[in-house]
Amino acid sequence: MEMTIETNVRLRRRRYVFVRVADQPVLDIGRFLKGEIAFQTETECVLLCPVRGTSLRLSVEELGLMVNVPSDRWLTPDEVRAMRPELLNRVLDLAGRGILLCDPAPDGLDGIAEAEEVMEQMQWFDLAALHHGQSRWRGVDGNLPVDASPSGKSLEERNKTRGDVPGHFVQRDDALARTALQVPSLDGPFFEILLGRRTTRAWRCDQCLPKPALEKVLYAVFGAQGIKHLAGNVALIKRTSPSAGALHPIDAYVLVTNVEGVAPGLYHYETATHALALLERMDRGEAYDVARLFTAGQSYFAEAHVLLVHVARLDRMFCKYARHSKAYKTVLMDSGHLSQTMYLTAAHLGLGAFYTAAINDADIESRLRLGPIREAAIAISGFGIPTNGRDELAFDPDPYLPIWAAEAGHPSPRNSTELKGNEDGPQ
C-alpha cells in the first residue's frame, strides 16, 4: 500500500522489527521486455509484522534508512520537515507502506503503534509474538481433495523435492543395550476408552445431539472442578486437564450447529456459572458456513454437531510468565491437553470427536470480537454423533504389537521387518 503523507506528522520506527533477508527468484524485467521469460535472484528484505502478520518488502537501502529512525521516541513534525527533501520523500514513502510508524496513521495502517504498546504492556516474548502474528490465517479455504491419506503421487512429488519421509519407528544405533519390556494388557473401562479414541470425519447430520451430551462434554472438559483463591482477585482453577501455573487461560467458544434444545449460534461457555452466553444467533445453514470458514474449508469437520474454539487469554498467561521464552508454548500445550480430554470424554459417551489447528484464526477473532493481541484462537475441537462405519475418511490401521511380543507368541497381524537388530531378541 502506498500513499501520500503530509509532512505535518510524527514518525518513529516500529518497536518490534524482524527482517527476513532471502534470495528470491524474481522475474527478469529487462529480458521480459525483450520477449524472454527468465528469472534472476534478488536479495529481498522483508519486514515481518507481528501485529498484523503482514510481510512488507523493502530494499537493502531502505533497511538502512529505517534503522536510523528512532523507535524510543517520535520524530516531531519540525524534525520531519527539517529533513533534506530527497530523504524526506523516502522516509514518508516508508511510512506510507507501514514500514515506519506515522502519527496520524494513514488509512488502513491505524492501530499498529497502539498494538505495539499493548504487546509491551502484556510483556510478550518478542519471538513468540512474531511466530503468532505470522502464523495466523484469514480466509484460507483448504478445498482439499477428499482422499484418505497423502498417498501415491502427492507423496512421490513431495519426496522428490524434500527427501523421504523419516521412518515411523526409531531405533538408536548408539544404544548401549536394550531391555525387553512385557507388553501389558490394556483391560478395563479406562483403557477401553483410551484405545477407543479416534478422530471422526463423518457425522449423523440427520440426528440432533441431545443437550445433556453437550452439557457433559463442556463440564467435563472446560468446567472448573476446584478453585484456590490467592491474594487480591487472583484465583487458580482446577480442571480435568493440566495447565501451566494452574492459570487455565483457555476458554471455550461454542459453535452449535445441531443440538436439541439449543439454538444454532455462537456462544461463550462461562466456566464460573456453567452457562452458555449467546453471542450470535444464526440458522443451521449459517452455522455450517461459519464452521466451514473457521475450519479453513475442512467440510468434514464443519458438519460436526458442536465446534469448540479454544481461545487463549494470553494476557492471563503472560501476567505470570512475562517475556518468558516458554510461555507461548505452554498455551499451545494447554490446548492439546484439553483436546485429549475432550477426545476421551467423547469416546466415553460414544461420540465422535476431532481437533484441528488448521483454522482461520484471524477470521475467528474478528467474528468473536476478541481483544486483539490479548486473546487468540488456538485450535478447534468438535464432537457429535458419528456415522459409525460410514466414515470414508476414517483412519483404520491394523492392530500392532511390539515385534518382540509378537515373536514371543502373541498374535501379531503383520510381520514388521522394519525394526533392525532384534532378530536375536534383546541385546
Binding site: Q24, I29, F32, L33, I37, E44, T199, F354, A358, F395
Partner: protein, 81 residues
Amino acid sequence: MAPNKEGAKKFLQRVANDPAYRKKLESDPVGTLGELGVKVDPKHVPAGGVKLPVSKEILDHLDEWTEALDDVFHSQIWRGR
C-alpha cells in the same frame, strides 16, 4: 524491486490475458511497471521497442509457478487421527 512471486503471477496473468494492458505495457513500460512499484531504468528498455513474450509461453510458466505455490499450501494440512 522486481515483483515477488504472487505479484509476478498476477502481472503475467494480466499480460497474457488482457490485450489492452499488453498494449499499454508495450507503449509505456516504465510508467506501467512503475504503477506496480517496479522501477525500470529507461536505458534498459529495448531501443527497437518492447517485444513481450507470447501469451502461451507466459501461461506455460504460470503453471509452474502455480504448482510451486500449491505445493506450499497443500502440505500445510496433514490430517490428525
